[in-house]
Symmetry: C2
Subunit: 481 residues, 2 copies
Amino acid sequence: MPLAGVRDNPTHLTQLEEWLRSYRPEELFDEHGRPRPEVLACVPEGDRRLGATPHANGGLLLRELPMAPLERFAVPVDKPGATLHEPTRVLSDLLESVMADTADRRDFRLVGPDETASNRLQAVFDASGKAWQAGTLESDEHLDRHGRVMEILSEHTCQGWLEGYLLTGRHGLFSCYEAFVHIVDSMVNQHIKWLRTSRALPWRAPVASLNYLLTSHVWRQDHNGFSHQDPGFVDHVLNKSPEVVRVYLPPDANTLLSVADHALRSRDHVNVIVAGKQPCFDWLSLDEARLHCARGAGAWEWAGTETAGREPDVVLACAGDVPTQEVLAAAGLLRRHLPDLAVRVVNVVDLARLMPHEEHPHGMADPEYDALFTTDKPVIFAYHGYPWLIHRLAYRRTGHAHLHVRGYKEMGTTTTPFDMVVRNDLDRYRLVMDVIDRTPGLGVRAVGVRQAMADARTRHHAWIREHGTDMPEIADWSWDG
Amino acid sequence: MPLAGVRDNPTHLTQLEEWLRSYRPEELFDEHGRPRPEVLACVPEGDRRLGATPHANGGLLLRELPMAPLERFAVPVDKPGATLHEPTRVLSDLLESVMADTADRRDFRLVGPDETASNRLQAVFDASGKAWQAGTLESDEHLDRHGRVMEILSEHTCQGWLEGYLLTGRHGLFSCYEAFVHIVDSMVNQHIKWLRTSRALPWRAPVASLNYLLTSHVWRQDHNGFSHQDPGFVDHVLNKSPEVVRVYLPPDANTLLSVADHALRSRDHVNVIVAGKQPCFDWLSLDEARLHCARGAGAWEWAGTETAGREPDVVLACAGDVPTQEVLAAAGLLRRHLPDLAVRVVNVVDLARLMPHEEHPHGMADPEYDALFTTDKPVIFAYHGYPWLIHRLAYRRTGHAHLHVRGYKEMGTTTTPFDMVVRNDLDRYRLVMDVIDRTPGLGVRAVGVRQAMADARTRHHAWIREHGTDMPEIADWSWDG
C-alpha cells in the first residue's frame, strides 16, 4: 500500500525494485526464470506440501459417522398427542449411541456453554465424560481426561473448538441456549463464508456440517425471563448463503430424531435445529416423522376438518414445538365451536421450504406451495420466532396478501408458559379469533365464539395473578382428536 | 429451587423454616414485625440509599451536550452532485466540537475497535488524544493519559465501556466496521431490553442514547473482500423493541451531520447510523438535509422526470450512500434514453419510516406512504443491505406486490467498487433494466435501451479484468441534472 503509486511515481518504482531485489532473485532463479535445483531440493513432496496436507483439507480425512437405526431411539406413537416426551432427552439416546460407536475413532464431540444435563442430554455421559484436565474431587461427576463432551461457559470457545474440529475432518454438535447463541453471530458469519467459498473449489473435500441444537428456547424461560428470550439467530443465518444454511424446527421427539440424523450425515452445511427440552406431545410416529421431515412441510389431515377433494376455508400453519401445540389446540376449538369450517393444518419443519425455489435449494416450487397454502384463503401462521421472518421468506408467493403471522414480538418477561404466548398473541384463543376475523363472512356468524375466546384470555389474565400457574384447561390440555 | 415442593412436602417446609430462622428474626424485628431501631440505625438516608443513588440512575446526572450550530460544519451545496466529500470526515468536525466543548465536563467519549483516523474521524484529536496509561515513545501520536477517544481492538470492550458510560449519565458514540459490529449482537440485545424495561419505570430518568456509526461498509471493501462484508446488524436491531431502535442511512455529508446531531441529542434510543468514509457526492444543502432527515424519506424532484400534478410511471427508491448514487445514475440514464418516462426518485434516510405506523413510532401512516410510493406503480428500491429487509418492513403496504428490491445478497469478494454493485445486481444498468422489465408496456418499446444496459454490464466485466479498475464512464461519472 505505501507503494501504491508505482505506475506513475518513479521514486516508488525504484523503491519497489530495491525491495524485490533484496531477495536476491539471481541466486534463486536460473537464466530462464526457473527456480534453481538447490531451491527446489527443500520443497517437500506429495501430502507434505503445505497446500496438499490433508490436515488442512479435513474432508479428505472425514469418515462417515456410524449412525444406528433410529428405531432404537424413537418413541412409540399409536395416535397423535396421546403421550409426552422431552425431545432433547430422546435425542440424547441417539447422541449417546454415536458417542459410544466412535469411542475408538474419537471423531465426534458435543460442545456447549450450558449444562449438558440441564438440556436433558445427559445420556451421552454413559458413553463419554466431560473433558477435564485439572484435579477432581470425590463429588465431581462425569469428568474425564479423555472426555468428548466439552463444556465451557463461553459460546466463543465452543464455536472455535467445533470449527477447528470440523475443518480437520471430524464431527460434532453445539448445544446452546437459543438466546445466547447470538454471541457467535460474527463467528458463524465467517464459517458460512468459508463454506460458501470452499464449495466452489473442486480440490476442497466436503467437511462435516456445523450443527447447532438451540434449546431452552424463547417460550420456556419461566424463571429467567426477558433477558433469555431471543429467537433471532434464525433470522441472522438466513441472511447468509442459501447453499450453506439450513433451519429446522421439529415439532416433537421423533421429528427431532429424524432431523438430527439428517444433520449429522450432511456435509458443508450450517444446520440450525430449534427444539425444546420440556415435555412435548408426540404427534408423529417415526415413519410419519421421516416422511414429514423429508417433505419439510405438510398438511396434517388428522388435525384439520377439511374434506378430501374440496378446498379448505382457512389454513392454520405452524413451525416450532410451542406454536404447533397452540395451533392444534386452536384446531380443536374450531372443530368444537365451528364444525362446518373446513380447516387445514400445515406444519413446517424445514423453514427454507417457504422460500422461492430460485432463492434456496430447499424452496418449494410455486405449484406445490400454492396447493399446500392455497392462493386465496387466509393463512394464520404461528411461528416460533419473529413473525416478520415468515413474510420475508414468503413475500413472493401468490397468496402472500392472505398470510397473517403470529410469533414472538419481544413481549418477554418472567411469567407462566401460557402467558408468554398470550402476551405475544400466539395463543390458541387469539388464533381462533384470527381465523374468525380473517375468514370472509365468518365474523358476523361467529360473534359468540369470538367473544368466548376473548373472555378466555381475560380469565387467564385474572387466574395467573391469583394462582401463579396456568388455568387447568391449559395446564391439563391434551389433543382429543 | 431445591425447596420447590414446600407446599406439599413437610420435610421441605421444615427445611425452609430452619433456613429462615437461621437469620434470627427475633433479634431483628419487634413484636409487631417492625425492624428494631438498632437495625434501622445503619440504613443510609436519601441519595445514599442503594436504590436511590443517582450513580445507578444516570439520567439524573445527565446534562445536555453542548451542540454547536451545524452551519459551522456543513459543506456548501449550490447544486446537487457537483462536489464530493468524505461524510465521516465532515462529521469529524462536529465530533471535535463536542469533544472540545466538553473538555471540562469530560462527559463525552468516542469509542471504537478500528483506527479513528482510518475512519476519517481524526479531527477529534485536535480536542482530545486517545486514552493511554502506559509508557509512550517519541513516535507515538495522539496518546493522552486523560484522552477521551478510546480505541481497543475488541468490539466487546468498546460496547461494555460505552454502556457503563451511558448508564452513569454520560454521552458517547461507537464507531465500528459495519461487518464486525455483529460481534456485539448479544450485548446490544441486552441493552435494548434494558432500555425497553427502564422506559416503563417512571423513576428511571432517561439516559443518553447508544449511538453506532457503522462505516467502512459492505460496498467499499475493495481490499478486504468477502470476510468484511455484512450489512446485517440493521436486520438484527430491527427485530428488537421499536420504542428503542432507530436506523439511519444518510446519503451524503450534510444528511450525516443532521442525523448525528439528532442522535447525540436523543435519549433512551439505540441509534444505528450507516455512513461511508469514501468520497461521496453532496446531494443536499444543510437546510435541505435538515428537512429531508426530519421527514425521514422524501421525493427528490430535481432527480426525477415526473410532471407536477401527474402520477409517475415508476418509482426509483434508495437508502444508503452507494445505492443513492446508483439510483441517481439510473435516473440520469432513463432521462437520456427514455425521456417520456415519468420517473420519481425517493430517498429514505430513516428506515423505520417504511414500517406501519402501528408497528414503529416512526412508521408512515398509509396515506403518506401510498402518496410517496404509489399503490400501483412499480417501485425499484436500491437498498444498502439485505434486500428482503425492505420487504419485511413494507409487506403490509397496499403497493407491496409492486415493490422490487435490490441489495447485498452475499455476492461478496475482493474487486472494484462498481463490480460489487454489479455482482449484487444493484448497479445503474441493472436498475434501468428492472424499470424496463417492470413498467407495464415498456419492455417491447425499450428493447434497444435494455440491450445497451446489458452490453454495458458485459463491457464492465471485460474491462475490469483487463485494467483492474472501473470503466472511465463509471469512475468519472457525475450527476449532470
